[in-house]
Symmetry: C2
Subunit: 360 residues, 2 copies
């Protein structure tokens, strides 16, 4: 029998390795004042090298005031994708309750950029210790990021990335890659190279989601590269007038009766799935996003073929955890944290649901 | 803005809720002796209800001797699947170093059941505090499990499950479901319903892996249910004579020249992929398992279409974490912990690799 094991490193060992006193190591570990930049850098280099695991309770005891984290996310109906992201955030918050961490969810209207600015200002006025935000339109997001930087409030982006704005870290899927992969999977369902249908939710020209736009770009890149001759038809459903959906879908499907495969680049797949179920269309193949309740039911019934899952609870959990570790222990996160693009069919659905339950 | 937050629960609150003294709660939390079954049950019920997060350092200080965990896994070549499982175990071990946790890896020969028994006895003689094992052939595994139960050593199964033996918990993929899903994906690559090829590694009639056998069963169930007329041809490659592989593959492919799709139910996909690369066969589609280095290269080159990933590092990590939490804090795990069945193509490969890096 071979033996493999890891030893434990003490503060005195770290001090020796960094060539500083034990007191200096203690100051770095507990984010205490009166420390030169040079000493801090020496100790941090050693901590990184040995992949130091902080004894968290020591810092917890040292901290007297609560740590306030604000998550700034789009308003949403009950039972939608963002509920799961919030569950994950609350789960992580519970795990850090020893450190007096409080997570507050602040909402903005994804279809109203003026309201976004107003909500952002309320968030800034609350002077949180850290912020997790879903960026919206780049110009408006920029203003918020500038103010966060000015106030020295560490902030993460979740779901949608704008690399130029350099948040502390990004958590979410690579949206273009996801759309590119979706196109490959759709074409496996479309061996006769019939036209593809793309469904979108749009309000006054705004999709309300950078993710959705980038997924579509990735999809179009794949189709242009590999199947330039397969026609693609688009239908924009108005986000605020769901009553009109059925009539518009009737017309769209009648106009493209030869199409047997379609895609929607967000969690609204259930709108198309319900329509297909109502019309008894079992010959149409649909790909959508996110394991929300209504989509799951349609996946099980066979009206949705594929759902791409993004582990929303895990994402929410990782964001709060990363921000807490950064603020409490100075642990620097990786800048890009891409969540795997997970293809889910009805056969393998249960294990994805169970896997996310660890963050409930 | 809405507010959502979680409060902190103190030991005194738990004592009130359970109707016991603070001392009793403390005894339960730190696994101390002199405690009635009734009191323990009362406290455990409350802890479960409030989803208590133990303040781990308190127990760590109380513990004086090291906690010895043994992982009992198949011998393997360098750069194979099990290396990643071990990495995950070592990562978790490092996280629990405050609790003096030591993880030792013990190996057995998967093709020699007598040697398995001898290695198992060595493992038992070491009197570990907990064991993580990959069960092999059920009859031989039973003997080991009986001895572990007799010695009251808590044990988990990883990779392959034998539900009747009731380990503390199982971590791994649902192998039959995985094979069933693999068949569905393969048939998407096979719209003309040509024959399917199944490649196996066998030594003296032993596949050496329950997982591999069950995946094949799931695959066959799907084909019998959905495509009973599609022929399936099998090739057994001898596990101990890799030199013979090429000759056998030459003959097999010549005998089934009409087949364009194949599958291998373990991480040896690279054997077939290398063969296809050598023979310049770009028309053949292959599905295999596991993101090991050699498979990854062939996925990127296009000689493997699909790999099913099992998050081996995460599995190893979860096993050590679960066993430590059970032994140190009495946290009872869920009995079945199925790892999602993750379909990986070259387009989305990077994010799966990055995601596992958190356990390096």
């Amino acid at each position: 029998m071979k033996k493999e094991e890891k030893g434990k490193i003490r503060i005195v060992d770290i001090a020796k390795m960094a060539g500083v006193s034990i007191g200096t190591v203690d100051r770095v570990l507990h984010n205490r004042p009166n420390l030169s930049t040079k000493s801090r850098e020496k100790v941090e280099a050693v901590l990184k090298e040995i992949q130091y695991q902080p004894n968290r309770s020591a810092s917890a005891l040292a901290r007297s005031k609560p740590l306030e984290i604000y998550a700034f996310i789009p308003q949403h109906a009950i039972g939608t994708y963002w509920e799961d992201v919030i569950k994950g955030m609350q789960h992580a918050s519970g795990e850090y309750s020893d450190f007096k961490v409080r997570t507050t969810i602040a909402y903005y209207d994804p279809y109203n950029l003026y309201a976004f600015e107003v909500s952002a200002q309320q968030l800034l006025d609350a002077q949180p210790d850290g912020v997790i935000m879903v960026p919206t339109e780049p110009h408006y997001s920029r203003k918020v990021v500038d103010k966060l930087n000015e106030a020295k409030i560490p902030h993460l982006f979740i779901d949608s990335e704008i690399p130029a704005y350099q948040p502390l870290a990004f958590f979410g899927q690579d949206a273009r890659k996801s759309g590119y992969f979706a196109a490959r999977m759709l074409m496996l369902l479309n061996p006769m190279h019939e036209p593809l249908l793309v469904f979108r939710k749009i309000y006054a020209g705004i999709s309300g989601s950078n993710q959705q736009d980038r997924r579509q770009q990735g999809f179009e890149t794949y189709m242009t590269n590999k199947y330039p001759d397969v026609p693609i038809h688009y239908l924009d459903l108005p986000a605020m007038q769901p009553d009109e959906d059925e009539l518009m879908l009737d017309r769209f499907f009648a106009d493209h009766a030869d199409a047997k495969v379609g895609v929607i680049f967000n969690s609204n797949a259930f709108i198309i799935g319900h329509y297909l179920a109502k019309k008894n269309r079992s010959d149409f193949h649909l790909l959508g996003y996110d394991l929300i309740k209504q989509n799951i039911n349609l996946l099980q019934d066979g009206h949705i073929d594929f759902l791409i899952d993004q582990s929303p609870k895990k994402q929410g959990h990782l964001c709060v955890q990363t921000l807490c570790d950064y603020i409490l222990f100075g642990t620097k996160p990786a800048p890009y944290n891409y969540i795997p693009i997970q293809l889910v069919t009805h056969e393998i659905l249960d294990d994805f649901i169970q896997s996310e339950m660890e963050y409930d």
